[in-house]
Each structure stands twice: as C-alpha cells, then as structure tokens.
Symmetry: C2
C-alpha cells in the first residue's frame, strides 16, 4: 500500500522518471510492427520502476539530476525487463504484470531473440553513459543475475538448502540489480568512494528485502493478487526462505516433512497436498520469521544512507526502503 509520504517520493521524482520512461520506450522500439507492440506493451506495464528510482535517488543524494542519470536508469529498467522475458520463457509462465507473457503468444525462438535484443538495447543505454565504471557494473550485474537464476534452476526440487545458499541466490537474481542501480547513480553523481559503497549496500539490502517479501507474498496471496496460486514457488520446486525456516523446525521423519519433501520434489502434485503445505507454513510462523529477516535488511539499508549530503533525498531513500517492506502489509 502506498502511504502518503511514499506518494510524495514518486511525485517529486516524476519529472526525472518521465525522462527515464522516454529513453526506455525509444530503446524498446523494434522494427517489426506486431512484435514491437507486444514489447512496448510489456515495457509500459512495468510496475513501480523501483530500480531506476533508486538509481535517480542515489544521484540526487549528491545533487545530480540530469543526463546521463536518465539513460542509466532506462538501461537498468530495460535489463530488468529483458531478464523477465527470458525468465518467463524458462518458467513457461503465462502471465506477467497481468498481461499474457511474450512466450505465451510468440514461438519460444522469437522470445529468446527478443530478450537478447532487449539485453543489447539495455547495454547500449549503459554504454551511452560513456562511463567505463558504469558499464563494468552493468555487465557484472547481468552476470550476477544469470548466476542467481542458474543457481535457482540447479537446486530446484531440493530441500537440503541452507539460508546462505538462498541468500546468495536472491542476491544474484534480485539484489544485484538494486545494488548496481544505487552504485551507478552515485558514480554518475561523482559521489566519494565510501558513499558509493554505502549506497551500493543500501541497494543490495533493499533488493534482498524486496525478494524475501516477494517470497513471503507467494505463500500469502492467491490468484487474484499475483496472478498465480499461493505456493506457486513450491510447486515449481523453488525453495524460498519461508520453506527453509519451516523445514528447519520439522522432525526429519515427521509426516509434515514427508509431505513438504513430496511437494518440493514434485512427486506430490495434488492441489490439496500443496494447499495443506501452504497452510502448514502459514500456521508455523515461518512467514513472520521471514518478514523479520526482511525487516533486518531494511533497517540495515536505512543505516547506509547517512553518507548522502542531501537530507531530503536521504529521507526519500529511507521511505522507498520502507515501501519495499510495506508492500506486504
């Protein structure tokens, strides 16, 4: 839920974000009519634009609020979009942002190439900043995202995962891009090196919390809110923090553990079994424990903003951190 102060952040940042939007749509334009409309539709449907918002805020914290910050912001958002396109193809998802995914309306080969094209365009935006360091962060972030997604794929259907492995995965998959966005913004604004690192940590912690909240919401909400049934991650074999916490409290030979293991491994795919595990996890308090973990990341993120000389922007950064957490309320 957007509270009034968060709404203030979005209002204040609106002129800059419109600049980002313009560059984003230009870069996503493709020279094939039908496909172009599909891709533009996907780009336009893109939520709150939190990643470029963090990038712009990191720049603003050091008094910088013009090109090339908008170009970098568009690059970060387009990288995110490209990665969603491939992710939906990998997962064979049917819906994204309430709209049919590209892979549900185009042959998978075309979607792979379209995703590649969007990666290329996002790299062009990063290159247009003409900052070798920004480009280098951009490329490393893409590698981190792929690493996180590959890790998720290779450990799927397995319950023997530690919290550390989970955190490493979600750092790659989600937090790395928030971290990179904040770092790029600070670098473009010529922030001092310790402040660049502090803002990178801010982004990373916000991103970690963002993914944990996402993983909790997957257990809390059903089809209406998220466009997929509650416990969807689990049925895909993706073991997230709530399941790890829940499993750690179970006896290895208990019936609950056998049920959980069956659902995660994919051996049990009856919706009733899934619903039972989801309910057990909700009742166990694991969602609250996971949210506590997200809260810790948010507190740590907020402690990283003190290097920002602009007080108003500092408050806005903290507000966005809270907003990421409060999505779940």
């Amino acid at each position: 839920m957007v509270n009034i102060r968060t709404r203030d952040v979005f209002a204040t940042m609106r002129p800059g974000m419109l600049q980002v939007e313009e560059r984003l749509e230009d870069a996503a334009r493709i020279d094939f009519p039908v496909v172009s409309d599909l891709v533009l539709g996907l780009v336009r449907a893109g939520g709150k634009r939190l990643r470029p918002l963090v990038l712009l805020l990191a720049g603003r914290a050091f008094g910088f609020d013009h090109e090339p910050i908008f170009t970098a912001g568009a690059g970060v958002e387009l990288l995110h979009t490209a990665s969603l396109v491939h992710d939906d193809t990998v997962d064979r998802s049917a819906l994204r942002r309430g709209r049919p995914t590209l892979n549900s309306v185009l042959p998978s080969g075309a979607v792979i190439l379209l995703g590649d094209y969007l990666f290329a365009q996002s790299a062009r935006l990063a290159a247009a900043t003409e900052s070798p360091r920004v480009v280098s962060i951009f490329a490393s972030t893409l590698a981190d995202i792929c690493d996180g997604q590959l890790r998720e794929m290779f450990v799927a259907h397995r319950l023997d995962q530690t919290r550390e492995e989970y955190e490493r995965r979600i750092y790659g998959k989600t937090a790395s891009l928030f971290a990179g966005a904040a770092e790029m913004g600070a670098i473009i604004a010529s922030a001092p090196e310790d402040a660049v690192q502090a803002l990178r940590h801010f982004g990373s912690d916000v991103g970690m919390a963002f993914q944990i909240v996402d993983d909790v919401l997957d257990f809390r909400e059903g089809t209406q809110q998220l466009g997929k049934p509650a416990g969807h991650d689990l049925t895909q074999g993706t073991v997230t923090l709530p399941a790890i916490i829940y499993a750690s409290g179970l006896n290895e030979s208990s019936a609950a553990m056998t049920l959980l293991r069956g659902v995660v491994s994919g051996e049990l795919d009856d919706p009733d079994d899934v619903a039972k595990v989801v309910q057990d996890i909700r009742d166990s308090g694991a969602l609250d424990s996971a949210m506590l973990e997200a809260e810790r990341f948010i507190s740590r993120a907020k402690s990283c903003t003190s290097s920002a000389p602009d007080l108003e922007t500092r408050e806005m950064l903290e507000e966005i951190a809270d907003f990421v957490y409060e999505r779940s309320a």
Copy 2:
C-alpha cells in the same frame, strides 16, 4: 583449405591468439561442474577464431599488440559463442562444431540462461577495455546480431525476398561482428578516424563474403562436411542468395518454381523434393553467381586495407580475406 601463406598468418598471430584463448576460457568458466565442462568444451571447439584474429590484425596494423586488444578479442569471440548457443536453441540444432549442442543435452531453460551468462561475460570483457567507444560498438553489434536473426526468423518460409533484404539480414547476423571486431582493434590501437572506418568496412565486407560462402556451402556439401544435409537452410525456410538468384531466373508459373515454393514454405518436405531443388539450384549456375558476389565483397575488403601503415599486417589482412573466400574451394 589453408594454403601456406594463410598458415603463416596463423603462425605469426599465434602468441596473441593464445592470450585471447586464455581470457576466453577464464570468462567461460562457470561455477557448476558438469555445465562448466559442457560450456568449456563448446568454447574450445571453436574453429579458426576469425573474429578475434581480425581484431588483433586491425590493432597490429597500427603497431598495437598488447592489452586491452586481447581482452576485446576474447569478448568478440565469446559474444559469437553466446549467440551460437541461443541460435542453436532457436533452431533446435543437434550438432555444432561436430559436438552435441548444449540444447541437445540440457533443458532449454538452462541453455537460455547459459547463453545469457556468456553474453554477460562477453560484456564484462568489453567493459574491461575501459574504452567507452569499444563498449558502445560491442552493444550495437549485439543489437545488430539480434536484428539480423529476428529478420531471418520473421521472413522465413517466404520467397518474396530481395537481394537487399538478404544483405541486410546477413549484415546483422554475421558481418556486423566482423565489422565491429576490425573497428574495435583499430580504435584500441588509436588509429586515425578514416583508418578506423576503412577497417570497419574491411571487416564488414569480409563478414558479408563469409556468410555468402556459408550459404553456398549449404547447397554444395552434405552431412559429412557440415553435419547436416545439403539444402538444410531451404528446408528450414531460410532463403539465401543462391535461392534468390535461382528464383529470379524462373518463370512464376513453372513447375520448378512450384517445387521451390513448396519446399521453402514447408508444404513439401519429402527428401526427394528437397534433393531435386538442391540439384536444380546447383545446375542453374546460381552457386557460381553467388560466389562471384562473395568475390566482389572480398575485392572490396582488400581495397580497404591501404590505410594500414604496417605492410606485413596489410598483407595478412588480405590473406585472411582470401582465406574466407577459399574455404569454399
């Protein structure tokens, strides 16, 4: 066939190419044992390394023969490899460089992410040159490659294609990376701007010839040489220069045209029909006409080397241009 002088080029360039190889293998290493072996195997099986060779030669033409030219060379080759990984997935090819493709041994989702990871690593190599212009060429080239591949996909199975459309497609798919490689080499070597442009044209023309020869070979050679039956492009619905030339000499209502149209559209998939069209195209002289076109590109490429101050390197560039053409002999 490698003639002695071409072999001299490879021998002279060997120390630099070993530097490229080292950086390439480092970047292709992945933190998952089995997958890592598959990816390294693919990278190691990679042919003549013509793209980084052109890049190194372009640098050497202006007396430059050390870092960051090796890093950029590795970046170019890895970009090529990443694009092959996705291309094989799009085409569902079973063999590449005489080895099973990644998509024939891994789930397609994993192959998409592995290709993305290789793109990311190639972008990191480009970024490591710390040259905004090199990075910008790199990103534009990736966009051009995707554009060419998308064009090929969207016009598949259609005979109403002009020579210009064909040339635009193969520029994107193949020539853009040769062009970018030569341009990057010249830029890293701080060549004067007119020489940078001349070498870019050299690379582009060599790349155009390379793809035309490839397309001719597809009609000339069968399974043993290329790992696929003669006329494979045609059965995939990919209309290349020989088919365009052949079709332009046919009467719209002739039996030969009906047969060609049937094979290209996919309505006729009997191997005898395909073999008949392939034989008709061979007999028509269209392969020779296409080779003449390739030869024109090679001549033009060789005329672009005059700006290179180093005479030995100039000869080597011309030799490589000839080699690209003579692959077909």
